[in-house]
């Protein structure tokens, strides 16, 4: 959450896409990990796929 937007400035393409790309990357890891390995792979998947869900909840909470 950069402070710049509050001054009315536009966000750069990089600022807009950083979080979405990170989330996309984490999601891909989550989708693949459990497919490649049991045990540790499952845990990586659970943690990775929990991140987008948790991000949503945090954002909804913060915007209130």
């Amino acid at each position: 959450m950069s402070a710049r937007h509050r001054k009315g400035g536009h966000l750069s393409t990089r600022e807009i896409w950083t979080v979405p790309i990170l989330l996309g990357f984490v999601t891909m890891i989550g989708l693949i990990a459990a497919l490649l390995a049991n045990g540790i792979g499952d845990w990586v998947s659970w943690l990775a796929l929990a991140i987008p869900v948790a991000t949503t909840l945090v954002c909804l909470q913060r915007s209130r």
Binding site: M1, L11, L23, L31, D42, P52, L60, R62, S63
Partner: protein, 365 residues
Amino acid sequence: MVFLLLLCLTGLPLIFSHEIDHWLHDVEPAPVGEQEGRVSVDRIVDAALAEKPGDVVQFLVADPDDPRVWFVRLGTSLRSADMSAFLTYDARTGDFLYDYPLGEGFMDVMLRLHVDMYAGLPGTLFLGAMGLLLLVSLVSGAVLYAPFMRKLPFGRIRYERSSRVRWLDLHNLLGIVTLVWLFVVSLTGVVNTLSIPIFGQWQATELTDMVARHEGGDNAQEASLDAVLTSARWAMPDRKLSFLAFPGNEFAGPHHYVAFMQGKTPLSSKLLSPVMIDAGSGAVLETGELPWYVSALLVSQPLHFGDYGGLPLKILWALLDILAIVVLGSGIYLWLKARRTGFETWFARVGADRNGERPASESGR
């Protein structure tokens, strides 16, 4: 859009179909002490045939998660795509455990609505086309994300603004968060809708060639199933049986069994390798691999169902599905708003559509 909402809603209970099945009908085989033995499979298949006189055994199916059971799939004919019964037996005692109810119950309705809307292959292919539309709309949604987010930090919902703005922000947040997951689930769903043509292609080419290489030798004698299974295990010792197609079945030859063997690692357990076995002598005729397009289908299945990482993965699948439902719902809402049409006019359009007149635009976002 409405079809996609239907897919997401019916898909939600289907994520847990295995758990719901176990909960609805207790199919857990009673543990008989520490007993490890295996009863003759011929005896189990004979018992299944006696259970359903007049039917034939199409497949013998193993439970990937539970070596204590065998499933016997019967049909009214060997080539029939439909099954007439799916019976569960205790692999250690040969006891009959369960006759899976076919074509009834809540989960079956969910499955049919999700898979073909009771319209067979055309219904499945239609839903596949809807999935393709979803992929297109995901791309267009991602393209539109940046212009809407020029002045807004990630994840901010402007609760203080009008309901349209609020829903737009929510649509953008949930849409971008679920984007990759929804893209993968849609893509693999589309691949799944092609499963009949994909297997059909394999049957028409590689399986037909395989059968042609081993024609003749019409032995009247019948090898025992135990011998057939032993042969299959001997041919691929580092793999285990997923299912066995019986002679005359579309997945086998006229006088040949085909054992489909799965690997023992998470990824290779999703892939299958065929072993063709002579129905007369029980000898291995040929082993092979399935072509890339069948493998692509087989890998698509877990990525669509979310059934490859235990219950926590299924719960996450359900949560992401719920978020996707909100994305679709808000997408419909925003689309209606953008068109400056109220629900009344929209319902009037839907009514007109039902009466045979098609509205000017319907597949928009």
